[in-house]
C-alpha cells in the first residue's frame, strides 16, 4: 500500500511536468494549427535560462518549500526567456512562411535543432545541476505513511498547480482568455467579430512557451539538466496531448495527468510479477494512448471543449 502511495506521489510530480509541457503544445496546435516539434526544446531553453539566472539570483535570502527564493525568481526568468524566444521564432520563422501545417511541423523540427545546437554550443553536453542542496524526504510523511516525498517534489506540484490554476482563471474569467478560446474555436469568426487574432496568437506563444519553460525547469530540478531533456520528453508530452484530445487545453491537462501517472506506476507491474521493467514506462504510456484512442478517437476531452 505504501508502495502504491509512493508511485502515485512520483506520478503526481512527473504529471505536473508533463502537464506544463502539454498545455503549450496543445495551445499551439489549436491556435497556430501545427504540431510544434520545437516545444520540447523550448522546455530546455527555459531550463537553461533559469540555470543562468540562478547563478545571479541563487544567493537571495529566504526559501519556500525547501527551495531558495532565488530559484523562483530564476524560474520566472527562464519562463520569460523561453516566451521571448518563442515569439521571436514565430515572427521571424513561422509567420512569414506561406505553408501548411505539415510545412510548419517540418520547420519546427529544424527550429528544435537550432535551439538544441545553440544550447550545446554555449553550455556543452554535460549534465548540469541547479546548485541547490537536496534535502531528504519529509520526515512526517515518511514516519506516518512510509512515503518518501521531498519538499522539492511538493514545490514542483504546488508551482505547477498555481500556474495551471492561473491559466484556468485567465481562460475562463478574462476577456483575453475568452478571445483565446474564441480564436482556437473558429479563427475566421474571431476576426469577423473584431478580435485581432494576430495578437492572440502572440499571447498564445507567450503562455504556451512560458509554461513549457516551467516544465523544463522542474524536469531539470527533478532529475538533471542537459540539452536533450526537452526533446527526450517531447514524445511523452505528445502522447498526453493526443490522449487528452489534441487542441483542447483541458484535455492536455487530463492527458498529462494520465500519462504521467501511468509512466510512474509502471513499477507496479514488476511488483505483481509481470516482468516488464521501468525502462518500458514510455512504451506503456503509448500503449495506453492507443487503447484510449481506439475507444475515444478524439481523445478524452475531444468532445468537451
Amino acid at each position: 500500500m505504501a508502495q502504491i502511495l509512493q508511485y502515485l506521489a512520483n506520478g503526481l510530480v512527473y504529471s505536473s511536468i508533463i502537464i506544463l509541457g502539454s498545455i503549450g503544445l496543445s495551445l499551439v496546435y489549436s491556435i497556430a494549427d501545427f504540431a510544434n516539434f520545437a516545444h520540447g526544446d523550448t522546455m530546455t531553453v527555459g531550463a537553461y535560462g533559469a540555470f543562468v539566472a540562478f547563478g545571479l539570483f541563487g544567493g537571495m535570502g529566504g526559501s519556500l518549500l525547501g527551495l531558495p527564493l532565488g530559484f523562483y525568481v530564476s524560474l520566472l526568468v527562464g519562463m520569460a526567456l523561453a516566451a521571448a524566444i518563442a515569439v521571436l521564432t514565430h515572427l521571424a520563422v513561422y509567420e512569414p512562411l506561406d505553408t501548411d501545417s505539415i510545412g510548419l511541423l517540418i520547420t519546427s523540427i529544424g527550429v528544435a535543432f537550432v535551439y538544441r545546437a545553440s544550447l550545446m554550443g554555449v553550455f556543452g553536453t554535460d549534465f548540469l545541476q541547479y546548485d541547490i542542496t537536496r534535502s531528504g524526504p519529509i520526515p512526517f510523511l515518511l514516519e506516518n505513511f512510509d512515503v518518501a516525498i521531498t519538499q522539492r517534489d511538493v514545490a514542483i506540484v504546488v508551482s505547477a498547480a498555481v500556474l495551471v490554476g492561473s491559466l484556468h482563471f485567465l481562460l475562463q474569467r478574462t476577456t483575453l482568455g475568452r478571445k483565446m478560446r474564441a480564436t482556437a474555436d473558429n479563427p475566421d469568426l474571431a476576426r469577423v467579430s473584431g478580435i485581432r487574432t494576430d495578437r492572440v496568437i502572440l499571447v498564445m506563444w507567450v503562455i504556451g512557451s512560458a509554461l513549457a519553460a516551467a516544465g523544463g525547469v522542474f524536469l531539470a530540478l527533478y532529475s538533471q539538466l542537459d540539452p536533450r531533456i526537452g526533446f527526450g520528453i517531447l514524445l511523452v508530452v505528445f502522447a498526453a496531448v493526443i490522449v487528452g484530445g489534441i487542441g483542447s487545453v483541458y484535455g492536455a491537462m487530463l492527458g498529462g495527468l494520465l500519462i504521467g501517472m501511468i509512466h510512474e506506476l509502471t513499477p507496479l507491474l514488476g511488483d505483481v510479477g509481470i516482468p516488464i521493467g521501468t525502462a518500458y514506462a514510455p512504451a506503456i504510456a503509448f500503449v495506453i494512448m492507443v487503447a484510449v484512442l481506439l475507444v475515444k478517437p478524439r481523445g478524452i476531452a475531444g468532445d468537451l471543449t
Binding site: R181, A182, N186, D188, A190, R191, V192, G194, I195
Partner: protein, 240 residues
C-alpha cells in the same frame, strides 16, 4: 437619390487563382434590405466575403459611404460599422451564449452591458440559455445567436449569408422575421439567400447573380414578377 451606404463597383475577386466575381457592381441604399439571389456558384457568398475583407478585390472599389474599404481586414471593417453573419460555423460552439455575445462586442468602446441586455430582451431564447454552450443550440437558435453576435456592434450595415440554410421552413420564416426586425431598427441589410422567393419576399430590392456578374436588378417585387427571372432563376413561373 442620396448616396448609397454601400457601393461595390467593377469588382473582380476570387479564391487564389480562381476568379469568381467578374466586373460586379451593386449598391445598398440606407435603410433597405437587398437580396442577392442566383444559382449555386454564381458568387453570392463571394460578394459578401469581398465586401467584408475576407477576400481582397482584385480590381474595382468597395465603399462604405464614400470611404474605400476594399482590401481592409475584417477586424477593421467591423469597427467602422459593418457586420457579417457567415453561413456556416457562425457561432463559437465551445463558448457559452453569453461569451459569444461578448466576443461580438470586443471591438466596442463601451456600452457593452447595455447592448447585451437589450439583445437578451429582444431574443428571449438567448436569455434563457445564457450559460449553455452554443453548440447545444438548435439550428434556428444558432442562427439567432449568430445575428445577435453581429448586432452587438450595432452595425450600420449587416451582411447576412443564407440565413435560412439548413433550417426547417417554419424556422426559416422566424429567422426572416428577425431579419426584418433588425432592419426596422435601422440596420441596412445585404443578404444572400438560396430560397430566392422567400428572400426577395422580405427585401426592398434584389440582385440576380450569374457567373459572377449581376444579370438582373430592381425592386424585389418586380423581380419576383419578371417572367424571365422567374423562369431562369426562381425555379418556375412568376407568382402571377
Amino acid at each position: 437619390m442620396s448616396q448609397p451606404i454601400l457601393t461595390v463597383e467593377g469588382v473582380d475577386s476570387g479564391y487564389g487563382e480562381v476568379q469568381v466575381l467578374d466586373d460586379l457592381s451593386l449598391t445598398l441604399e440606407e435603410g433597405e434590405i437587398a437580396c442577392l439571389v442566383g444559382p449555386n456558384g454564381a458568387g453570392k457568398s463571394t460578394v459578401l466575403k469581398t465586401v467584408f475583407g475576407m477576400l481582397e478585390p482584385w480590381t474595382g472599389s468597395v465603399r462604405l459611404g464614400d470611404r474605400e474599404i476594399g482590401g481592409m481586414a475584417p477586424e477593421d471593417i467591423v469597427r467602422i460599422g459593418v457586420g457579417y453573419v457567415p453561413q456556416t460555423e457562425n457561432v463559437f460552439g465551445s463558448l457559452t451564449i453569453d461569451e459569444n455575445l461578448r466576443m461580438g462586442g470586443v471591438a466596442r468602446d463601451g456600452g457593452l452591458e447595455e447592448v447585451v441586455t437589450e439583445l437578451y430582451d429582444r431574443f428571449p431564447i438567448l436569455d434563457e440559455k445564457r450559460t449553455a454552450k452554443a453548440k447545444t443550440l438548435s439550428g434556428g437558435q444558432r442562427q439567432v445567436l449568430a445575428f445577435a453576435r453581429a448586432l452587438v456592434m450595432e452595425p450600420d450595415v449587416l451582411l447576412i449569408d443564407e440565413p435560412s440554410a439548413g433550417l426547417a421552413p417554419n424556422t426559416a420564416a422566424e429567422v426572416f422575421e428577425d431579419v426584418v426586425t433588425v432592419n426596422e431598427l435601422g440596420t441596412s441589410i445585404l443578404m444572400v439567400e438560396q430560397n430566392a422567393r422567400e428572400g426577395l419576399g422580405i427585401s426592398d430590392r434584389g440582385f440576380v447573380l450569374d457567373q459572377g456578374s449581376v444579370e438582373f436588378e430592381g425592386d424585389a417585387a418586380s423581380l419576383l414578377d419578371d417572367p424571365e427571372v422567374s423562369r431562369l432563376y426562381l425555379g418556375g413561373e412568376s407568382r402571377h
